[in-house]
């Protein structure tokens, strides 16, 4: 499997504080990669470096084949991003939101049009095309936010706690969307606090105090830590963490 994210001893220091220390891992194409860790463990810092928002202090990393030091602009073209806030404009309609995000990635007008129709169909939102986003239920907003984050067909999409605040059924449906995208070859890099979601990932890394404490498939992690579920694995690793929430 070709890897789309490769890091080698990737480190970020803020003065004396080492937010992320010597992270080394690879993420393959079309893989669903869970990035777990307690608050303050360094997940966000790592993700920001991979997205080209923050320059690493040392180590190497490439995303979609581009270097995180020198080719951040190229990286930005090849990745998508969705945050826990969903990041849609409430006072714009569903269509306007799709068009806007497609537009800022420089997509051509006909391409945007085709994509908009296709997305509305996939999400079964044709009826709501002209509805303001603020009038949509939370679950729909979330699905829309995800679709919008991959509107430009990126190689990788970074999902930062994408399922905060929604019910289990909606969360399950949301994961169906994620699987569909992964099947099309989009790499999913997802952070979450829900351990049932960790089970859905192909592989999971767990960060504790700035380092990667464990990295493997959920099944093997459970075996290694003799745990019944991922929650147990996480607890065994994270309970001794020194750092408190940021």
């Amino acid at each position: 499997m070709a890897s789309v994210i490769t890091t080698d001893k990737l480190t970020k220091r803020f003065g004396a504080f080492i937010a992320a220390s010597e992270l080394t891992f690879e993420v393959g194409k079309g893989e669903i990669f869970g990035f777990l860790g307690a608050n303050g463990a360094g997940k966000t810092t790592a993700m920001r470096m991979l997205c080209g928002l923050s320059t690493p202090s040392s180590g190497k990393a490439s995303v979609a084949g581009f270097d995180v030091y020198t080719q951040t602009e190229k990286i930005k073209r090849r990745i998508g991003y969705m945050s826990q806030k969903f990041s849609l404009y409430d006072d714009l309609t569903v269509t306007e939101n799709i068009r806007f995000y497609a537009g800022i990635y420089g997509m051509s007008r006909p391409a945007i049009k085709t994509k908009t129709t296709q997305l509305l169909e996939e999400l079964q939102l044709q009826q709501e095309a002209k509805t303001l986003v603020k009038e949509l239920p939370l679950g729909w907003k979330q699905k829309l936010a995800f679709s919008v984050s991959i509107v430009h067909d990126p190689d990788i999409v970074f999902l930062d706690e994408p399922t905060g605040g929604v019910d289990p059924v909606t969360r399950r449906q949301f994961w169906d969307l994620i699987y569909a995208a992964a099947d099309r070859g989009v790499t999913i890099f997802v952070t979450t606090h829900y351990m049932d979601e960790a089970e859905y990932c192909n592989r999971v890394s767990i960060m504790v105090d700035g380092i990667i404490a464990a990295l493997d498939s959920p099944a093997r992690l459970k075996e290694k830590y003799a745990a019944a579920n991922m929650e147990d694995v996480f607890y065994q690793l994270a309970r001794n963490a020194q750092r408190k929430a940021d």
Partner: protein
């Protein structure tokens, strides 16, 4: 470029969707013009006064008729004796009284000098000052008339104690002030709120992760506010032309150019505010407190800067609206051209460039 247009389109959608804010944006200049132009005028018209004439000669009759003809005074009554004045003042029937002593005309003709008394109800000192000034003006006019015809110098000396009020401020002074205030407020507030909103929504993160350039974000955010401000400018100019009898005497092009310069300066301030503000409320408060007060106080349209303590005079130099106010007064009211405002224009341009450079730099740093 297409990306930028997409973004600008979105910004306009935000503005047009928010009807309440839009109403406020255009209501603000209209309300200000009405308030400052009509309601809050500090011209005092038709003050009721009393006249006590012990002399009753052609000179006093002439002066009294001049007073009666003035818009500022309404002669309520002619009293036979000064004793009655006390009651009239106490009741608040009159604001001012004029007393001509007996033999007033004779004194004037024979000695060339005559003294009259002007008494004002000074419970409102500002009003008293203003109306005694008006009275002074009328007597000075008459003095000038006398000087023209007479063979020997003659002078009426009004006995009054007065403070010097440099100019009788009314609509002509307020309109440039309102222009400065409205443009400053709209530009700084709208800009800072617009950017902070993206931060609050979390959409800023997405924009930063996208290949969209930060400078484009700034340009797109500024575009609708620039348009709204220019529209506002024309509304104010039209209102003052139609209702306040204040046409643009100088070049309209020059005035608009200077206004755009001022608008850009204010937009840069808004940008700077948005970088330090974390919430929309903070941005709003920052622009209101940080911008409205200095603009109101240190621009010179409510309080003349020359009368301020030195420290405030120095401080007023960094308030952009102060320079804009001078430009508008010269171009709009006095009809002066580029040669008389280039200095103020260069100061504004300097401020604009400096502020924009700082905010651009800070904006980029924040993104790291």
């Amino acid at each position: 470029m297409r990306q930028l247009l997409t973004f600008i389109r979105k910004e306009f959608l935000h503005v047009f969707r928010d009807r309440k804010t839009l109403l406020m944006l255009f209501g603000l200049p209209i309300a200000q013009i009405v308030l400052f132009g009509f309601a809050l005028s500090n011209e005092i018209k038709d003050s009721r006064i009393a006249v006590v004439d012990y002399s009753k000669d052609p000179v006093t009759t002439h002066i009294i008729s001049k007073i009666a003809a003035s818009d500022y005074f309404d002669i309520q009554r002619s009293l036979a004796s000064a004793d009655q004045l006390q009651t009239a003042f106490k009741k608040g029937n009159i604001k001012l009284a004029v007393i001509f002593p007996s033999g007033f005309g004779d004194d004037l003709m024979h000695t060339g000098n005559a003294t009259m008394q002007v008494i004002a109800d000074a419970s409102d000192p500002n009003q008293a000052t203003t109306i005694t000034n008006y009275m002074n003006q009328i007597i000075n006019d008459y003095n000038a008339e006398l000087a023209k015809d007479a063979h020997q110098p003659m002078q009426i000396v009004p006995e009054l104690q007065m403070l010097y009020n440099p100019e009788l401020r009314g609509a002509p002074n307020f309109v440039p002030g309102v222009m400065a205030l409205v443009l400053m407020l709209v530009c700084t507030m709208m800009t800072s709120v617009a950017i902070v909103k993206e931060k609050e929504l979390g959409t800023m993160e997405i924009l930063l992760v996208s290949p969209f350039k930060p400078i484009y974000i700034i340009i797109a955010k500024l575009a609708p506010n620039l348009l709204i401000s220019v529209l506002n400018l024309f509304i104010i100019l039209l209102l003052s032309y139609l209702f306040l009898d204040l046409p643009v005497k100088g070049s309209l092009l020059l005035l608009v150019t200077c206004s755009i310069l001022f608008i850009l300066t204010s937009l840069s301030i808004g940008l700077l505010l948005s970088i330090s503000a974390k919430t929309q409320q903070a941005a709003m408060m920052g622009s209101l407190m940080g911008m409205m007060l200095p603009t109101m106080l240190l621009t010179g349209f409510l309080f003349p800067i020359e009368n301020m303590p030195l420290a405030l005079q120095v401080l007023s130099n960094i308030v952009p609206s102060r320079w804009y106010f001078i430009i508008v007064k010269r171009v709009m009211l006095k009809g002066l051209g580029l040669t008389s405002v280039w200095k103020e224009m260069s100061i504004l341009s300097g401020m604009c460039l400096l502020l924009f450079a700082i905010s651009l730099r800070k904006f980029k740093i924040r993104l790291q």
